[in-house]
C-alpha cells in the first residue's frame, strides 16, 4: 500500500468512525432515557419524531443555540481547555480499537481499525501497545475533570473536581491491574493479538468443550474488577459521586453551559463506549462469533463487525440497566471499596493467574 492510498484510507476511516461514534453517543442518550423511563414506569421522550427518535437532534440544536456563558473570574484559558481535553482524550482511545479483521472494498484491503495497517506482505500490523495507549489516554483525561473544577473558581466546582479526580485516580489502579490477567494469558499488549488468541474453543484434558475460547471464563474475577473499576472511571452509577445530581450541586461542570457542558457530556458517553469495546475485546472474544453460512459475501464480511457491535451494545445496555437499578455509594464506602476490596482482589487475581500460567508452561 503506497503512502497516498494509506492517507486516503486513514482519513476515510477516521471520518467514518468519528461519525458513527458520535451518532452512537447521541442515540445512547435516547436509549438511556427510554430504558430508564420504562424501568421507572413512564414513557421517556415521545414528542420529537416517532418514539422520540429525533430527541438527540433537538438536544444537540439546543446545546448549540444556548448562550455560552463565561463567568467572571474564571481562569479563561484553562476553563476553555478543560472540556476540549476531556472530549479529545476520550475520542483518541477509539483509534486503537479494532472493530473486525479486514475488509476489501474495490480491490483495496484495509484493517477495520484506525491504527491498523496492511504491510506489503499482506499481514495486518497493529500498534504493539494498544492497551497501554488506552490506559495512558485515560490517565491524561483526568486533567479535563481536575482543571475544569479548579479553573471555574467556584467552591462547588472545586470540591466536585477534587471528589472526581480522587475517585478516578483510585480506581485507575484496579482498572490497570484487572487487565494484567488478560495480558498473562494472551502474552501481548496489542488488542488485535488479544482477540486472535481468543479464537477457537477451550480444550480441557484433550476434549473439545465447545465453549468459545474467551478470556471471561478463566478471568471472571478480573472481569468483575474491570467492570466495577471502569464504571467508577466513567463516573456512572453506582459510582457517579462526581455528578450526583439528586443530592449535590452537580460537580466539576457546575459553571459550564452550552456546548462546553455538552463536551463533558459527550466525553462521558464516548468513555462508556471505550469501556464497552474493551470489555468485548478483552473478555468476550471481540469480533468472534458463530459463522452464518447462508449470508451473501458482503454479509459474511460484515458479520464480525455485527458480533462486535452486539457485544458493545450489551455492555452499553448494562450501563443503563445498572443506572436504573442500583443506588449510589456513599463517598467513604466508595473509597474503601476501591482501596480495601478491589485492589487486593486484583493483586490476588494476578498472583493466582501467573502461578497457573507458569505451571502450565
Amino acid at each position: 500500500m503506497d503512502t497516498k492510498t494509506f492517507i486516503i484510507a486513514a482519513v476515510i476511516k477516521i471520518a467514518l468512525v468519528v461519525f458513527i461514534m458520535l451518532t452512537g453517543v447521541a442515540y445512547t442518550t435516547w436509549l438511556e432515557r427510554k430504558v430508564i423511563g420504562r424501568i421507572q414506569n413512564r414513557w421517556g421522550p415521545t414528542r420529537v419524531g416517532p418514539f422520540g427518535l429525533l430527541q438527540p437532534l433537538a438536544d444537540g440544536i439546543k446545546f448549540i443555540l444556548k448562550e455560552d456563558l463565561l463567568p467572571d473570574y474564571v481562569h479563561k484559558g484553562l476553563f476553555i481547555l478543560a472540556p476540549m481535553l476531556a472530549l479529545v482524550m476520550s475520542l483518541i482511545s477509539i483509534a486503537v480499537i479494532p472493530f473486525g479483521e479486514t475488509i476489501t472494498i474495490a480491490g483495496h484491503t484495509t484493517a477495520l481499525q484506525i491504527s491498523g495497517m496492511i504491510s506489503s506482505k499482506g499481514a495486518i500490523s497493529d500498534i504493539n501497545i494498544g492497551l497501554l495507549i488506552i490506559l495512558g489516554v485515560t490517565s491524561i483525561g483526568v486533567y479535563g475533570v481536575a482543571l475544569a473544577g479548579w479553573s471555574s473558581n467556584s467552591k462547588y466546582s472545586l470540591l466536585g473536581s477534587l471528589r472526581a479526580s480522587a475517585q478516578m485516580i483510585s480506581y485507575e489502579l484496579s482498572l490497570g491491574l484487572s487487565l494484567v490477567g488478560i495480558l498473562l494469558l494472551s502474552g501481548s499488549l496489542s488488542l488485535r493479538e488479544i482477540v486472535f488468541s481468543q479464537s477457537g474453543h477451550w480444550i480441557v484434558g484433550g476434549h473439545d468443550t465447545h465453549i468459545p475460547h474467551w478470556f471471561i471464563f478463566p478471568q471472571i474475577v478480573g472481569f468483575f474488577i474491570y467492570l466495577l473499576a471502569a464504571y467508577a472511571e466513567t463516573n456512572r452509577i453506582p459510582f457517579d459521586m462526581p455528578e450526583a445530581e439528586t443530592e449535590l450541586v452537580a460537580g466539576y461542570h457546575t459553571e459550564y453551559s452550552s456546548m462546553k457542558f455538552a463536551m463533558f457530556f459527550m466525553a462521558e458517553y464516548v468513555n462508556m463506549f471505550t469501556v464497552a469495546c474493551l470489555a468485548s475485546l478483552l473478555f468476550f472474544g471481540g469480533w468472534h462469533g458463530p459463522h452464518l453460512a447462508f449470508l451473501p459475501p458482503l454479509g459474511q464480511a460484515l458479520l464480525p463487525v455485527l458480533w462486535f457491535a452486539l457485544k458493545v451494545f450489551f455492555f452499553i445496555f448494562l450501563y443503563i440497566w445498572i443506572r436504573g437499578t442500583l443506588p449510589r455509594f456513599r463517598y467513604d464506602q466508595l473509597m474503601a471499596f476501591g482501596w480495601k476490596f478491589l485492589l487486593p482482589l486484583a493483586i490476588a487475581n494476578i498472583i493466582i493467574t501467573s502461578f497457573i500460567v507458569a505451571w502450565r508452561g
Binding site: 497501554l132 490506559l135 495512558g136 490517565s139 483526568v142 481536575a146 479548579w150 480522587a166 485507575e172
Partner: protein, 167 residues
Amino acid sequence: MIIHQVLFIVFGFICVAGAVNLLVQRHPINSALSLVVVMASLALIYLLLGAEFVAAIQVIVYAGAIMVLFVFVIMLLNAGAEERTRGSSVALFVGVPGMIVLAGTVGWLLVHSGGQLGGVTISSSSFGETHQIARLLFKDFLLPFEITSVLILIAIMGAVVLGKREN
C-alpha cells in the same frame, strides 16, 4: 528519515519551550501543566526512537499519575500565584558562569569529538518491545530492579508513618 528529523525538532522544541515556560509562569498550576507538556513530548521522542513501551509508560506514570497528583495537591492547597523575587546574587555570580561553562563544554565536545562518540545501532526489529524490556528487567537486571522496588516500598512506609504521627 526526514520525517523523523522534522518530528524530532518539533517535539524537542515543544519540550524545551515547556521547560522554559515552567520557570517563567508565576502560577503553580501553569507550571505543573508545562511539566506535563515536557513529559508528553519526551514520550513522543521515545516513540520516535522506537521505544514504544517506554513511551507509553512515560505517559501513564509521569504525565498521567504523578503529574495528576501534583495538580491535585496544588488544587487542594489552593496555592496562589507566587511573587517574583529580585533574584539572588548567588544565582548571578555562580549560576550564570556555571551554566556558560557547562554549555560551552558540551558544545565543544559535540563539535570536536562528535564523530567518536558513536551512535546506537538498533539491530533487531524487536528493539523496545515489551518482551525484551521484561527480559531485561526480570532476568539481566533482576537484583537492581528488586532493590529499587524495596527502596520505593520503604519510601511509601515512611510516608505512612509521617502521615499517622499526628494521631
